[in-house]
Symmetry: C2
Subunit: 501 residues, 2 copies
């Protein structure tokens, strides 16, 4: 195993450099004084360039092939075979991008982001339009470099959801739409109105911080291998399975962002904490795709964290933290408040049900722009039309419409659909877990997640990036991804909440 | 300037990797969950090895010489000439160490540290002795690799205080001893007794944290380019002049550690914040030596932070933070409390005056062990003798004697003297500043440090590592380092406090 061992040493080295770079990035959000930005960007650029140089060197490709020959015949499920598969894929992908393109894309993205900030602040789409046109052109160029068989969007989607085809996502989303729109309309027509005003009260920030730790621990997040930091835009990151961190923001008069933000990021971090120790210091030691990662965060945030039994068990803890705000409310009041659903303009503020429409809208518009079917100049009108069709509302301006997200200031088309895929994966996994182990539901009915977590560890977490998402969902649930588990879950939950028949 | 520019790019890259490694280290102390240690050590080892490999490559030496030829004739004081001098020195030094030695020393240090922890906890010198013997042997070997003209200790001292000779330090410390011992004895004989009990009371930690920020800001530490973290063993570090961080610890019933610890670390960080922007991303952008660095921390901690005028100005702020503890005390009470001096066993708890004896003791014992004049087995007895001669006390055990410091668990002989050199540099710089700009004293008399800081920026900080300490002190004060400014300062201050004639 001489070549394989040499390869592994190189892989460990590259992993360590990547984690150092990730720390530079995490620290920038959590601790760094703003004045340190130029030097920090220089440090991150140096690390990124070095990593790129080392991982795309001819020598690396040769080493991968020599090691592959050495382990030829290894079981498909073995760590060794999985590592070779992943390294070959990454090496081939990274070699496809000309250095000139990478530098150009980075330059344009930086300036586009500034233009976007200004355009959004001033609700001035015309200011953003020429920049978005450049981004679309970069995406088209990128799709060309990566290559595709059926349609350009496939090449981009593949970078976030390996081997998944646009046609597959389209079929799933179309099926979802066909059932979700009628459900949304039935809710609109119902006379039930949920009241979420108890969430908007003074909530002491120090107590929110204490609560976040209690709830995160109850969920299964291991603080002995974690850390909770404060940021403006929350995220999770990991430097190893033994150091997987979450971040949160705190509003003094609105409980949801910190509470459900923490539950969400915990789902991501618990996934990373659960990768098998044998995968350490390799690119296998992380979640397999953006969609599967999002399934773990959405499961904790929504399927567990917005469920009735969870709050029947934990509402007394919540009350103990905020006796003034919640002393006169019941667990059922709280459950109904956190599950209010209604069409809204802003994706990141959307509820569990209508969130999916925001994603479908972006998925369809990205394809249209990429294929040249939609001119960037016509985006605001197309946005308004789609929102009306999906959500029954029209944004009053572009700031609350097509200018709301940062994503389109970089050539990252293909990312958006993974958010909704995460919801669907989550429901399908959850349904399977409950069917395979009755303890999952029994424990959740007492507010406990031990059995669920054990199932996730065994079936999903420990594998890290060994299997691409399509393989994983087939192995775990016995069938490909579909919208149906999510619709069963959503229909039952919201029919109950809104008194539909 | 083709080669010089190429060299500069390489230097920037190496700097960035070094700063990434420094962040891995800082984060380990401030944020990292303990479980992350093995992976973090792997990350730091990867970075260190890579940096060592890149900076000692033949190609690097050739590049330095080609760039040096290109800027031949540049002014000695220019950034370019200074960078070449420093790079040549570092390159030569790093090439002197066999890889085998570096790995061996790291291995022994790791295990020696464990042995030291156990030996100190159990007051068992015999357990530590064989390990310390190995450390002494490593130091002797190291001195051989670096080489020396007069005595082996020179080779080690040079790594912390470039170009300073052991004979020079010995002469200064001997002169210091000759005057400091009589002063200490006069204080012992005086009937005055200072009362420091007001420092040992309940001090709310959150208020200590608020106070630390206020006092650090008053001192001139720029929080817009800084950060205050919590740790067990405080230190300062910088990732650039725009991101120079301090750390502190908080005791709920003792004010001094957080307050004077913050002042001390601020002195270090203010130095790094003051390096010239032109030096950014090069090894010149940091303090020039351990001794000069310590002069900046000691100046802020002691010459400013334990002065009467500083607390005459700031005591009301202190009282406002701790009305219960200090409401009935005066600025003079506080000034006397923080300047109580008395012989003690533990270096890190020693006062401003007796601290120097702890260093002289270690400096002399290190030389004796290195030269083979003192067998490690005889260290405890030699320690007791020297402590009696210098401080008039004998430690009751080795835990409070020769086992107290972590330093001797690694081959780092030569570091200790820089602590006392820092005190002497500080006094000499301070005297010069006051003589050259009357505003320095006038402002300090109102508790303000603006003029002092401007003088330090102009004469010391901006140069970073351009001049070795001997050059710097000569340029700035017009004479070599001596003990006399410190003795003038200490004699005046403590004669007043203790009513000596």
């Amino acid at each position: 195993m001489n070549h394989y061992q040499t390869l592994l040493e190189r892989v460990h080295e590259l992993n360590d450099l990547g984690k150092a770079n990730a720390l530079l990035s995490w620290d920038r959000e959590v601790n760094m004084p703003r004045a340190g930005t130029p030097e920090r960007i220089a440090q991150m650029t140096t690390l990124s360039s070095l990593i790129h140089r080392m991982s795309t060197a001819d020598e690396m490709g040769e080493l991968i092939e020599r090691a592959a020959a050495e382990i030829d015949g290894a079981d498909y499920d073995s760590d060794e075979a999985a590592l070779i598969r992943l390294l070959r894929r990454n090496y081939a992908d990274e070699r496809k991008l000309p250095a000139d393109y990478v530098a150009r894309a980075a330059g344009i993205s930086g300036r586009t982001r500034e233009a976007w900030v200004k355009a959004r602040a001033e609700d001035d789409f015309a200011h953003f339009q020429p920049w978005l046109e450049q981004v679309v052109a970069l995406c088209q160029e990128l799709a060309g470099y990566y290559g595709y068989e059926d349609e350009p969007y496939d090449a981009l989607l593949d970078k976030y959801e390996t081997h998944m085809k646009t046609a597959e996502v389209r079929a799933i989303f179309d099926a979802l739409k066909a059932e979700l729109v009628p459900l949304r309309e039935a809710i609109d027509r119902s006379s039930a109105r949920l009241d979420d005003s108890i969430l908007h009260q003074p909530y002491d920030v120090a107590r929110q911080q204490a609560l976040a730790r209690v709830i995160a621990t109850a969920l299964g997040y291991d603080f002995d291998r974690g850390h909770l930091g404060t940021v403006v835009h929350p995220f999770a990151t990991s430097f190893s399975r033994n150091d997987a961190r979450i971040t949160t923001r705190w509003y003094p008069d609105f409980l949801s962002p910190s509470l459900f933000g923490t539950l969400h990021e915990c789902g991501h971090a618990i996934y990373e904490q659960g990768t098998a120790p044998e995968l350490a210091r390799t690119p296998l030691a992380r979640g397999t795709s953006m969609g599967i990662h999002e399934s773990q965060s959405r499961m904790m945030e929504n399927l567990v964290g917005r469920s009735r039994p969870f709050w029947q068990a934990h509402f007394p803890t919540l009350q103990a933290h905020f006796p003034e705000a919640l002393g006169h409310s019941t667990a059922e009041d709280f459950y109904r408040a956190i599950n209010k659903t209604q069409p809204s303009y802003i994706r990141v503020e959307a509820d569990e049900l209508t969130y999916n429409f925001h994603i479908i809208l972006r998925f369809e518009l990205e394809q249209a722009m990429l294929n040249g079917d939609l001119a960037v100049a016509d985006l605001p009108a197309a946005w308004a039309d789609k929102m009306q069709a999906l959500l029954g509302i029209t944004p009053p301006n572009d700031r609350q419409g097509c200018l709301q997200d940062v994503h389109w200031s970089r050539p990252g088309f293909g990312y958006f659909p993974t958010y909704a895929l995460g919801n669907l994966y989550a429901a399908q996994f959850f349904e399977t877990a409950a069917a395979q182990d009755p303890a999952v539901t029994e424990e959740l009915n007492r507010g406990q997640t031990g059995a669920l977590l054990a199932w996730l560890r065994q079936n999903i977490h420990r594998h890290g990036k060994k299997f691409v998402p399509g393989e994983l969902v087939q192995r775990v649930t016995g069938r490909p991804l579909s919208h149906d588990a999510f619709m069963r879950y959503a229909t039952a939950k919201f029919s109950d909440l809104y008194g539909l028949n």
